[in-house]
């Protein structure tokens, strides 16, 4: 028995040594000889966007023959957790996702983990040549990380984003419907669709974020009707980006927007049982021809373009034609920034430049129907009369007229979980109570920040 004892002790000793050696080997093996590696952690796990990223990487590697790009795509939540853990350990990728506002950018800036991209933007002309000034503000923070929407630039997007009204051209033609130019016209179209047995607007309220998109477009129309488009644009960025405590959800137009969307729900403009439908399923139902319109984002464009019917998109209309274009929900796709721990910051900045400007990637956008960050959009990558063409036109318009709206779930850290919208639509609370809840959520955040 003692021989076995000795044998097993030897075994234990050997295992311990093996473990120690492999740990040392793993640690030591990290240093490379030869080509330089640039690590990129992104959230383009969707096939279409990832294809564009691959084209960007291919061009970058062509232009930098001694550089190899090591890229990892994950979904937003997983990428955030991985990035946070890595940053706390003093490690992480060279190029990382820096999602706008308090989701990631604010905490990262305050912890001093991101590089100020201002000098690179000046060198490469990013702010001059891409997007519009109000859009760039959404990737800025003051250096102390206390104020969002101004100060240093910390992120650069690969794609643009917008929310518009997709519509089924075939159904519209069949019912002799014209593209609505005002909200009353939109409601008339909805009534005609309903009478023909077709669900007017594809929408599902099982999740919180789609509510803020459809409601924000309605809000833009009702508010601009009272105070004009420019002031509405300012109100929205004051609330969502700056967090100005002088602004309030009790300001004119907000209650009307809540009443309007509630009216749409009560009039059955949405699917039966829509409170239990997720937005992906609402999209699938629209693509299957079960609804006339679909008020959602550019990220669904390739799905809609793949439908059996001719699709189109129009901007959400104002209450009255004279008001002109109202703010349309939109912005930039999840921006990328540079890790303060990176030893190749200049190289990382060159990668970001390629991300913004790569022509091969740009051409691909026309095949995958992803919005480019460039404005005005290059219409030659799309065919007239298609939904992607309509989307590019709306994108250019929004930027040119300074009407890029806001994602209201950015307003406070808990707004993405705020159930008031779902409670409003399912009839649990009144529009007045909705306004009250939104203001409570807003005010408790903005007053605690100062």
């Amino acid at each position: 028995m003692n021989r076995t004892l000795a044998g097993s002790k030897l075994f234990l000793l050997a295992m311990a040594m093996l473990l120690a050696l492999s740990a040392a080997g793993w640690a030591g093996g990290q240093k490379e000889t030869g080509p330089v590696t640039l690590t990129v952690w992104d959230v383009y796990d969707q096939e279409g966007m990832h294809k564009v990223l691959e084209a960007v990487i291919a061009q970058f590697e062509r232009e930098h023959p001694n550089v190899k790009v090591e890229e990892t795509a994950r979904n937003l939540d997983t990428d955030k957790a991985a990035t946070m853990a890595a940053l706390n350990a003093g490690a992480g990728p060279d190029v990382m996702t820096v999602n706008n506002g308090e989701t990631m950018m604010g905490p990262m800036v305050r912890a001093k983990y991101v590089v100020d991209l201002g000098p690179y933007s000046a060198k490469y002309g990013w702010e001059k040549n891409f997007l519009s000034p109000s859009l760039w503000d959404r990737a800025k923070y003051t250096p102390d990380g206390k104020v969002f929407g101004t100060g240093n630039l910390y992120g650069v997007p690969a794609f643009g984003e917008l929310v518009g009204v997709y519509y089924n051209r075939d159904i519209f033609d069949r019912l002799s419907l014209k593209v609505p130019q005002t909200v009353p016209e939109l409601e008339q179209a909805a009534e005609k669709l309903k009478a023909a047995g077709i669900t007017p607007i594809a929408y599902g309220a099982a999740e919180v974020w789609p509510f803020f998109q459809i409601w924000a477009d309605i809000l833009a129309a009702t508010m601009a009707d009272k105070i004009g488009g420019d002031t509405t644009q300012k109100w929205m960025s004051d609330v969502v980006i700056i967090g100005d405590p002088k602004r309030s959800f009790k300001d004119p137009g907000v209650l009307e927007a809540a009443q309007t969307i509630r009216r749409w729900a009560d009039r059955d403009y949405f699917f039966k049982g829509f409170t239990g439908i997720i937005i992906d399923d609402a999209m699938n139902l629209f693509v299957a021809g079960k609804a006339g319109m679909f008020l959602q984002g550019s990220w669904y464009c390739s799905a809609v373009a793949g439908a059996d019917f001719r699709a189109g998109m129009f901007a959400f209309p104002p209450m009255k034609k004279e008001t002109g274009m109202v703010p349309q929900v939109g912005g930039m796709n999840t921006p990328m920034g540079i890790n303060i721990n990176s030893k190749k910051k200049d190289l990382a900045a060159e990668f970001l430049n390629t991300l913004l400007s790569a022509p091969e990637a740009h051409k691909l956008e026309g095949e995958i129907f992803v919005l480019p960050p460039a404005v005005p959009a290059d219409l030659s990558i799309a065919q007239q009369g298609t939904v992607f063409y309509d989307m590019l036109v709306q994108w250019s318009d929004m930027n040119a007229k300074n009407r890029v709206g806001q994602y209201f779930d950015w307003t406070t850290p808990t707004m993405g979980d705020e159930p008031a919208g779902q409670e409003l639509l399912s009839g649990r609370i009144s529009p007045e109570q909705f306004v009250e809840k939104m203001q409570t959520n807003y005010y408790s955040w903005v007053s605690s920040k100062k």
Binding site: L10, G273, T275, I277, T414
Partner: protein, 307 residues
């Protein structure tokens, strides 16, 4: 130790390697397990407790604030709503399967059923499905657009019963609860049937002689004999109702919307989405203590009455 050779000092006849450790030998053998427990259990738990005493976004520096997070927690209405929702889940994941499972087991447990093995496999099938997959499947089942449930009501002419199951604050927690009942009922039945089959038939014969009814048999003979099984079933289902099982299911089926948010998911959101790692840790510590308490009480209950 008797090795038959008659020598008293064993050490001289064996390898010098035997000298390694000596009196420490037993500790060397448990060392790997202890190490794993320390690294993967004790250290994380201690860390979470430490984080719960700080204000921390998850990045950068932590600010020590004592028990401030716990005060916030007690004053947080969403915390209390989640707690209440979790109690609903305890009802559906733990208590309901236990009671129904016991009744079912008492009916079928005493006799030998043909094809018992296959029934066992079928009853345990829900256990092998990943909780996220389960959540997605049930989201489809409950979907108003093309769900199986509403579709069924349509076919049998009960259109009035069609509801947005997951889109209503009263119905959604119940709908999610039924997923838990479906998940655990089979497991509970199997554990209780195994327990019943261990019971000495002589006890039931004695009961028959005394004229005991079926109900009296269940309460006075079956139930006391199933104390150990009851403890197992309660502890396992209680932990799942608060922890890992319910988290995966809810995250996939409703993401906590319409009043379905359990505490574990709330802790995750607060920590990783709202960037309040300190507060999220406090909720987590509360959960850990609660589960330990409930498990401990259940075990104590199991010990009582043991002769």
């Amino acid at each position: 130790m008797n090795n038959g050779s008659g020598t008293k000092d064993h050490r001289r006849t064996y390898s010098p390697l035997n000298d390694i450790g000596g009196a420490l030998t037993p500790y060397l053998y448990v060392a790997p397990t202890v190490l794993v427990i320390l690294v993967f259990l004790i250290y994380p738990m201690a860390s979470v407790f430490w984080y719960s005493l700080t204000r921390w976004s998850g990045l950068g520096l932590k600010e020590f604030i004592g028990f401030g997070n716990y005060a916030t927690m007690l004053a947080d209405p969403i915390f209390w709503t989640s707690f209440k929702t979790n109690i609903t889940y305890v009802l559906f994941f733990s208590l309901l399967p236990t009671v129904v499972g016991l009744l079912l087991a008492s009916v079928v447990g005493r006799s030998r059923i043909p094809g018992e093995r296959y029934f066992r496999a079928i009853l345990l099938t829900p256990q092998v499905i990943a909780s996220v997959a389960m959540g997605v499947i049930f989201r489809w089942i409950f979907s108003p657009g093309f769900g199986v449930l509403d579709g069924f009501f349509n076919i049998v002419g009960l259109e009035g019963w069609q509801k947005p199951w997951l889109g209503d604050s009263t119905l959604a927690p119940i709908a999610v609860g039924t997923i838990g009942t479906w998940l655990w009922l089979g497991f509970v039945v199997i554990v209780f049937v195994a327990g019943i089959q261990k019971i000495d038939p002589a006890l039931y014969d004695a009961g028959n002689l005394d004229g005991a009814s079926g109900w009296q048999e269940l309460v006075f003979i079956t139930l006391p004999q199933l104390r150990a099984e009851l403890v197992v079933v309660l502890v396992v289902t209680l932990i799942r109702a608060f922890g890992s099982g319910v988290f995966g299911i809810v995250a996939a089926v409703t993401d906590g919307r319409y009043n379905t948010m359990p505490l574990a998911l709330y802790a995750y959101r607060v920590a990783f989405v709202h960037n309040r790692m300190g507060y999220g840790s406090a909720v987590t510590v509360f959960l850990i203590v609660l589960i330990l308490l409930l498990s401990g009480l259940t075990f104590r209950f199991g010990q009582r009455g043991r002769r």
